[in-house]
């Protein structure tokens, strides 16, 4: 069974995950939560108590916007990424790639040690 990631590691990348899902099309909170779970291979389970305040923060920062629909019989709030959100996603993706490359380079010398069976 795969191990999930620690909260400290996730904290800095949640915005990136949510923006990347929304870049694929508009969706609502519950569906977004499930999509993150699927996209991460069941490794990232965003708790509802974390997800909704995060969505509201991104909306306050104008990185996403929302609209209400009641086609399902109950009121549902849909989110979509804004132009500013796409810019942020692009910048954060580039930054993330640099960060990953940096960490991989740092870990390369010790990789043989930490992967050696005990």
């Amino acid at each position: 069974m795969s191990q999930r990631f620690g909260p400290d590691l996730l904290r800095g990348s949640l915005d990136l995950m949510v923006l990347s899902i929304l870049a694929g099309g508009s969706t609502y909170g519950y569906d977004l939560q499930q999509r993150v779970l699927e996209a991460s291979g069941q490794l990232v389970q965003l708790q509802a108590g974390t997800l909704y305040p995060l969505l509201h923060r991104l909306e306050a920062d104008k990185l996403i916007r929302s609209r209400w629909e009641d086609s399902t019989g109950r009121k549902r709030k849909w989110y979509e990424i804004t132009a500013a959100g796409k810019q942020r996603l692009s910048a954060q993706t580039a930054e993330w790639d640099r960060y990953v490359a940096c960490i991989q380079a740092m870990l390369a010398p010790i990789r043989s040690i930490v992967t050696r069976p005990v």
Partner: protein
């Protein structure tokens, strides 16, 4: 129809949200949609309705903490708008000033030059109410002090970063709480240190809540909560003295010479003033003029403008404030009285105590303290 458990949770959430009613409703609608969809999925997986309800709610965590997380982005947004409007206003004022200075006729007085106080304003002069400024500052201070004494705070903070916790209190009080970063850095305290504090009963004042938060990061003794010009400053404990003038004429006007003489004579408990617990913890038995403390040095001889009742009141304040005074200990603060105005030079903390004592004296005075009231904690609150 939504589950009753969901509605109870959403009501509690809405109650704790520091947002406008429409925003609260929108948050509740959004979360209700999530909860119902989650419920259906969990029941489809074979859970009982009760289990599914509990699981769906558990995924949201504590309603109060969630409300705090929801409130922060909105208030951050409002603060940004406020700063933007303030900057815009400041720019307009400066522009107006520059334009007015540029076009102001030479023969007229300067528009914002020397302040001229006069009873009959003439065209071309701008009358500035000189006395209004200090009053406004004092009113602001009193307003913030009243908010700090309020006991309607209720929250549950679990591993909340200290600075977010302060922000929550700031938002709840609608007063800016500014942190002196240097003091915390010098003491090796990270402002993101998690704090845990639950106040559900509403029995604790906002000031005590701030002190409890400071205690969580071991800064209770090092940092002080100081009311500045329109905001609360969390800064280093200030041992420097500041001078404040207290108008005590209302407390002194009904005191007769006889009462003061009786007090000087050391008759047990007789006198106008009595403080029971007025000085907070440790004031214990309270004070009566010339009461159980044995009538300590209340003299009728007065210096210019100083009343004997005023001297008596100063004695009460000195005793009840339980701190050092220059004329008693040879070090500490100073206290003088002129025409019912008591001028005190001491630390901010002592000024707070003096304010508290005076407030209790006034309350006791208004209620009509018994003339021979024993020096016990009758007015303890």
């Amino acid at each position: 129809m939504s589950e009753p458990e969901f509605e109870a949770f959403l009501r509690q959430l809405a109650h704790s949200l520091q947002l406008k009613e429409l925003q609260k409703q929108a948050v509740a609608d959004e979360l209700r949609d999530h909860l119902e969809e989650r419920l259906q999925l969990l029941m489809a997986q074979g859970r009982s309705r009760e289990e599914a309800c509990q699981q769906a709610l558990a995924e949201f965590g504590d309603a109060v903490t969630l409300a705090h997380d929801f409130t922060l982005p909105q208030q951050r947004l409002q603060r940004r708008r406020t700063v933007r409007y303030t900057l815009t206003s400041a720019t307009l004022v400066v522009t107006t000033f520059v334009m007015a200075s540029f076009y102001w006729p030479v023969q007229r007085p300067e528009p914002f030059g020397q302040v001229v106080a006069q009873t009959d304003p003439q065209p071309g002069f701008i009358e500035v109410p000189i006395a209004a400024a200090p009053d406004k500052v004092e009113l602001l201070r009193q307003e913030i002090e009243a908010k700090l004494q309020k006991r309607d705070l209720s929250f549950s903070m679990v591993d909340v970063p200290f600075q977010d916790a302060l922000q929550y209190v700031s938002d709840a009080l609608e007063v800016d709480v500014i942190i002196n970063n240097r003091v915390f850095e010098e003491n090796g305290v990270d402002l993101s240190t998690p704090v845990n504090l639950t106040l559900r009963t509403g029995n604790v004042s906002a000031k005590t809540a701030l002190r409890l938060l400071l205690r969580q990061i071991q800064m209770e003794k090092t940092a002080a909560i100081v009311i500045r010009d329109g905001f609360i400053d969390i800064t280093e404990t200030d041992n420097s003295h500041e001078v404040q003038v207290y108008n005590c004429r209302d407390l002194l006007e009904n005191v007769t010479v006889d009462q003061v003489q009786a007090a000087r004579g050391g008759h047990g408990g007789g006198g106008m003033f009595q403080i029971g617990g007025a000085a907070g913890e440790g004031a214990g038995g309270g004070l009566g003029l010339g009461g159980s403390s044995g009538g300590v040095g209340i003299g009728l001889s007065t210096s210019c403008g100083t009343s004997s009742a005023g001297v008596a009141l100063m004695h009460v304040l000195q005793q009840a404030s339980q701190t050092d005074w220059m004329d008693i200990d040879g070090n500490g603060g100073t206290m003088t009285e002129f025409n019912g105005l008591i001028t005190i030079g001491h630390t901010q903390e002592v000024h707070e105590r003096i304010n508290e004592i005076l407030k209790k004296l006034r309350a006791a005075n208004t209620q009509g303290a018994p003339a021979n009231g024993a020096a016990s904690g009758q007015r303890k609150s």
